[in-house]
């Protein structure tokens, strides 16, 4: 174990990534049954056993499937006996990865297993997500996730930042890219469809589905032993907007920009960006906040518009970006994850491969 030398001073990399095929339903699997294959996949990729892992951290929400303490059941899939060093966040797995990164920075662990999963199929995710809102002024009105995204989309249209054809273009580009992603739920030619909540149409919204993802983190030389080309986390930070929607400028994302600054995203160009934009209009906000030019490949995986397992979709952005570094398709990639209504909370990481 290394001596603790301050935050961000230890080289930590994503050395493996796995995800399920994301599907509209997964009735035949409990959450742990759905999750276990991806845990085995990332352990096999690194040759590690559960007992070799220094720290395990997961992200999920019991509200999605309506199953209390589901994350304790999910631990069965890890093999958590004898007791392991473990933590859980009721957040997207991207924030579990952040916690694991901090743990590795302290020097208390050299490797970490991070996973997340979401089964939206048993419930109505549009309604479930209303329960994360301000319980005094907002949640009693039950504004669903599409409605809130639509308010943001209209604000962007009013500001001249986008229009419906441009949003349709984002949808088409994402689903077209997803043709190359065997795990995607929605790919190819998808009609824009009718308004769900105007101005957002079916095509502007993410598919609803179930899925899971896992990554392995490793520090220093351990990363090089476990992966031919580790995706080094050069910077990672997360920031949040005020919770009042009416306090915010919905056409901008200062928290994303600040997180990106702190993660060093503006210190040099990136070739790839995996953005967690469940709605087409949110990509417009993120591109602006992150100052991404047309030369950057955005969401080559298809992004959350192609597969949006809630609580895992953010971790998948980090995993997809890392996987491109692993296979030499990217040298410097930006990964972004979001949580809450209208991009309320945002995480940005910069991943780099060793020079070739």
């Amino acid at each position: 174990m290394a001596e603790y030398a301050g935050p961000g001073t230890r080289d930590v990399a994503i050395v493996a990534f796995g995800q399920t095929d994301h599907r509209r339903t997964s009735d035949e699997f409990s959450e742990v049954e759905m999750l276990m294959p991806v845990l085995h996949e990332v352990l096999a990729a690194t040759g590690l056993k559960t007992s070799d892992i220094g720290f395990t951290c997961s992200g999920s929400s019991d509200y999605l499937a309506g199953r209390a303490f589901s994350f304790t059941m999910a631990l069965d899939g890890v093999g958590a006996w004898p007791p392991i060093s473990e933590s859980h966040v009721e957040m997207d797995g991207a924030w579990a990865l952040y916690e694991a990164w901090v743990k590795l920075q302290t020097g208390e662990a050299d490797t970490a297993l991070v996973y997340s999963y979401g089964k939206s199929s048993p419930g109505s995710v549009r309604d479930v997500l209303t329960r994360q809102l301000d319980p005094y002024y907002v949640a009693p009105l039950w504004p669903d996730s599409v409605a809130l995204a639509a308010l943001q989309a209209q604000a962007l249209i009013d500001a001249g930042d986008t229009d419906e054809p441009a949003l349709a273009g984002i949808a088409a580009r994402s689903r077209n890219a997803a043709r190359g992603n065997s795990h995607a739920q929605l790919g190819g030619s998808v009609p824009q469809g009718d308004y769900v909540v105007r101005p957002l149409r079916t095509g502007d919204c993410p598919p609803i589905g179930d899925g899971a993802a896992a990554v392995v983190l490793a520090a220093g030389e351990r990363a090089r032993e476990l992966c031919e080309r580790p995706a080094w986390i050069r910077g990672i930070d997360h920031r949040i907007e005020p919770h009042g929607l009416g306090v915010r400028d919905l056409t901008d994302s200062p928290s994303t920009r600040l997180a990106a600054e702190r993660a060093g995203a503006f210190a040099g160009p990136v070739d790839t960006a995996e953005l967690h934009a469940p709605f087409t209009s949110q990509e417009v906000v993120l591109r602006k906040a992150l100052r991404l030019g047309d030369d950057v490949t955005v969401n080559p995986s298809g992004g959350a518009l192609a597969a949006n397992p809630v609580m895992a979709a953010g971790l998948i952005r980090l995993g997809e970006a890392a996987a491109r570094v692993h296979r030499g398709a990217s040298d410097r990639a930006l990964a972004h994850a979001t949580s809450g209504p209208c991009l309320q909370q945002n995480l940005v990481a910069v991943l780099e491969g060793d020079p070739r």
Partner: protein, 318 residues
């Protein structure tokens, strides 16, 4: 693929929440048909008001009254209202900046159709007939096209209202509906129970048999898929005496609730012990399930009459 089970599951939870002084004044104000905001150190008026400045985290207490008319800052047409939303027929979600406020409030706008809604349109509060001190005391907004935008002078407000006592809390009721499916392993377990058989699953690695099975071995972290019928008899590994009657449970107290290791299982399940006085139940007692007509799981377990099991035979399962 095994046919999986599913069943409706309703999760209902009324959260009782206390209010801070600013929230209390705001919600009391709505009950009295007044809209209060709070002024920040840099002079901005926040509506709905919050206890702390979102920018500086400074405590905010400087209440002001704003108008009940305002301007739409963004909107979204909802053609298909969902349960719990403010209006039952199609409406627009709106963020409204009330005259005198610098921020916007989320609510519904009652309008005939999307063509009747635009950013910048003038609206006013429509009060609910019955008001309790909740955001839903505003029934919705309605168009107010005759009302020109005005520079509204806010007036300081003490936050106190004559009449009924101030609102100090809300009860936030919530209901979520699910169609729950327990997955492969537990579906098979439940299906076997319907034939009065108890079926666990064996870990291919450590060979332990888990009952009920959850599909994975928590020690080895691998899938369990070999089905093993266990029981029906078993051994009490440990127990407790229940002295408090549970709500909606028609069982006389005191009674014994026990961990029971069914023969062949490597994990104890739990159940009630009957057919024996509660103070005679002991570790090592041999028991068998008692089924009732139409029961989907054993009603309780009773002594078999066999000699007690030797401690060494179940000590790993305590």
């Amino acid at each position: 693929m095994t046919e999986v089970l599913s069943a409706p599951l309703v999760v209902e939870f009324p959260f009782t929440r206390s209010l801070g002084p600013v929230q209390s004044a705001f919600l009391t104000g709505l009950r009295e048909r007044a809209v209060l905001g709070v002024r920040t150190a840099d002079g901005k008026v926040l509506v709905p008001p919050v206890e702390y400045d979102p920018r500086t985290a400074e405590e905010l207490r400087d209440l002001v009254e704003v108008a009940t008319t305002g301007t739409v800052t963004t909107w979204a047409w909802n053609p298909d209202p969902r349960r719990g939303q403010p209006l039952g027929s199609p409406f627009a979600w709106v963020l409204v900046r009330l005259d005198g406020a610098d921020t916007s409030l989320l609510h519904a706008l009652d309008a005939p159709g999307p063509d009747a809604v635009r950013t910048g349109m003038r609206v006013r509060v429509r009060w609910a007939a019955e008001r309790t001190g909740a955001i839903t005391d505003i029934a919705c907004f309605e168009p107010y096209e005759e009302g020109e935008p005005v520079v509204h002078q806010v007036t300081p407000h003490s936050g106190e209202f004559a009449g009924e006592a101030a609102v100090t809390g809300i009860v936030a009721a919530a209901r979520l509906d699910y169609t729950y499916s327990p997955g492969r392993a537990q579906s098979q377990y439940i299906r076997a129970l319907s034939g009065r058989r108890t079926v666990g699953e064996r870990c291919p690695s450590c060979r332990k048999v888990y009952v009920p099975p959850r599909g994975a071995c928590p020690t080895c972290g691998v899938a369990t898929d070999e089905q093993v019928e266990v029981g029906p008899r078993g051994t009490v590994t440990t127990f407790c005496v229940v002295n408090i009657k549970a709500k909606n449970l028609d069982i006389e107290v005191p009674y014994v609730y026990a961990h029971i290791a069914l023969d062949g299982a490597d994990l104890a399940l739990h159940g009630r012990i009957g057919g024996i006085p509660y103070d005679q139940v002991r570790m090592g007692l041999r028991v068998e399930p008692v089924w009732t007509d139409g029961g989907r799981y054993p009603d309780h377990y009773r002594p078999t009459g066999e000699p007690d099991a030797d401690y060494d035979t179940y000590k790993e399962l305590v």
